[in-house]
């Protein structure tokens, strides 16, 4: 018989404490399955030309004095798009996801975050280092041919250095580097994903537990299905179990 009567405060607080403890145990347990791995030796990332956080954008006059391509990061191009608009820039990063060929040119997304130029993609070392940042680059079709590996879950993509004109509305209003030159400075390589035996064991054990609990919860229905008739007499001779979960939806 399902117990009725108002909930007691003590009972409610005890229940809440049990739930909180269970959540804590689950979270800690899951944490033990998330282990950082080995980091790839980082590439030497290009130094940011402006270090002052209060003045993130360089003086245009300083840039005018530079004859060669200006070294930039994606963060600078986004924050200071008007300063760099129309200038020849040099940008280095990892090609990610896909090379989108469009006739005589191709679009690529080139990231210069720590996963590109630092320790490498997160799946390789499993250390959180922030989000992605990058810039769209339009390559001449023949220059896109130098890219052989794109970055995704299975690989660290080719690191390319592009030189071209930054146009803050270069792609029908969106910022992009219209590259004239591109070369691969570091070839991409695959990321290995060895199966974690501990995780496999936990998955197997938890699946068994889930199936066992489900079987117990639905044993009446399982027995009915197997024998073609309802077995609702308990070992004590009483018919069914008072308060057992109904097999049909309630309220109909």
């Amino acid at each position: 018989m399902t117990r009725s009567g108002p909930v007691t405060r003590l009972g409610a607080l005890a229940g809440a404490a049990v739930i909180a403890a269970a959540i804590a145990v689950i979270v800690v347990g899951l944490g033990s399955l998330v282990r950082p791995g080995d980091a790839r030796p980082p590439l030497e990332a290009p130094a940011a030309p402006v270090d002052d956080p209060d003045e993130p954008c360089p003086d245009p006059a300083d840039l005018d004095a530079v004859e060669a391509a200006v070294l930039v990061t994606s963060e600078l191009l986004v924050e200071c798009s008007r300063v760099y608009d129309g200038r020849v820039v040099s940008y280095t990063g990892e090609v990610v996801r896909a090379v989108l060929r469009r006739g005589e040119h191709a679009w690529v997304q080139v990231n210069d975050d720590p996963y590109a130029l630092g320790p490498g993609p997160l799946p390789g070392h499993r250390t959180a280092l922030g989000g992605n940042s990058g810039m769209a680059v339009r390559l001449p079709g023949d220059r896109a041919d130098v890219i052989s590996t794109v970055g995704d879950h299975r690989a660290h993509g080719d690191i390319i250095e592009v030189v071209g004109t930054f146009d803050r509305t270069g792609d029908v209003g969106a910022p992009a580097i219209l590259a004239e030159r591109a070369e691969v400075v570091d070839a991409g390589e695959p990321i290995t994903h060895d199966i974690d035996p501990v995780r496999a064991a936990v998955a197997a054990a938890s699946s068994v537990v889930a199936l066992a609990v489900a079987a117990v919860a639905h044993r009446d229905r399982l027995m009915t299905g197997r024998r073609g008739r309802s077995l609702r007499i308990s070992p004590t001779g009483r018919r069914g179990r008072p308060g057992a979960a109904p097999s049909r939806p309630q309220g109909r």
Binding site: S4, A12, G173, H218, G251
Partner: protein, 504 residues
Amino acid sequence: MNSVLIRPDRRDLRLIALYTGRVLTGLGVVMLLPAGLGVVRGEYNDALGFVIGAALAVTVGQLAEWRLPVRRTLEWSHGMAVVALSWLAAAFVGAVPLYLSSHYGGFLDAYFDAMSGFATAGLAVINDLDHLADSVNVWRHLMQFLGGQGLVLVALSMFAGGTGLVGLYSGEAREERILPNVRRTAQFIWRVALLYAVAGTSALWLAMLWAGMPVVDGLLHAFMVFMAAFDTGGFAPTAASLGFYRSAAVEAVAAVLMIAGALSFALHYHLLHRRPGELWRNVQTRWLLASFVMLSAIAVAGLVTAGTFGETGGIVRRGLFQMLSAHTGTGFSTVPGRSFVADWGVVAPAAVVAAMALGGMAGSTTGGIKILRIAVTVKAVVRDVRRVMLPENTVVVQRYYSDGRQRVLSDDLVRTAVVILLLYLALYLLGALAGLAYGYSFEEAAFESTSAAAAVGLSVGIVGPDLATPLKLVYILQMWMGRLEFVAVFAFVGYIAAILRGRP
């Protein structure tokens, strides 16, 4: 106040826990889909993560089934509490495979993204999205699909009936009755979603192939972008959002799906039954169109003044797309998020915030105040002004056309609309104040807060992997309350208050 609170019966709590457990069981079963994808794509550790998550969900759900049997009819208040609790619990189990992917700094981060998924918000604190496993990426988008349709409703329309089902339906912010009963309405909503899934994914796939995407990756991306677009969620397969594809075709198809997602399911019913006239007669269509045109005009004026785009093409393709993304509550971006504060001036971002705050139609997948409440409030003001101006004994009746017939603007309807509107404004303000407390400018704080509470997902950069923990909690609360439109949350809090302070 204390004297009117009656402590709930044990059977009430068991009933709520039982139905919450059933939602989790359903969710656990769904989690096996990305697990299978993980196996196919060779992402074995992630597949194991899904198995662990599914096992946890099913274990909890079936424990409730086994140990909490109760003969009691699910009533409206139970349904409301089930919805509120289920969303909290679903985000917990949904976060398990995310956390196990190692792309999150802690479990709270994974919980943030899971709640953002189910609430179709689209804000994300994930690390290194561009190297995320396909199975985990699909799961992120699948959560938006489930949340947009109403995960509790579809799971429990199989199990419940009576007024409780009405509570479940209303608790997930749906009010319109498309078909004679709630169960059939829920089934219709899912049929529409699946119809759009086939058509939308196919169209996006073709557009992506044309854009240069590889075949298999293109199909996966098309499916993910469909789920985010139709459910106005805003997650995207890559960190560059929809801008990654550099394709007008992809953006055009996505725009159609976003608009479809912003239309009420009642309108979809009429459209599917070849009654296109209902589209224009509906008060929400007219007001949504008027709102979009007006706010877009303001945004365009702001962009021209700020000199953001040097050509008309940029204003149309980027500016208007962002306005559509904001107004439908989708959150796709085709420009870097920082551009809103770094390059868009002041007026255009303000228009974006207003669009996010308003949202789409009531009874759609969008968040925000909803255009119907705006229309009702403004019509009520007009009615009251007319009452004042006309002779004292004049009877003024204000009508509006919705869901196939003329309706009278009743005082109850007006009161409900205004209360929800005020609650949303308060929620937007709460989040903005929290952002201000962390040193962000008002423009940035208001933008991010509105995006979270209205379940949009556009970001100026506040939300990211380095988001401060208290702000994370504030935005999680905003997404939860905003998606459920407050009532279910209040019912849930009411149960807690009754337990703690009520009389036996």
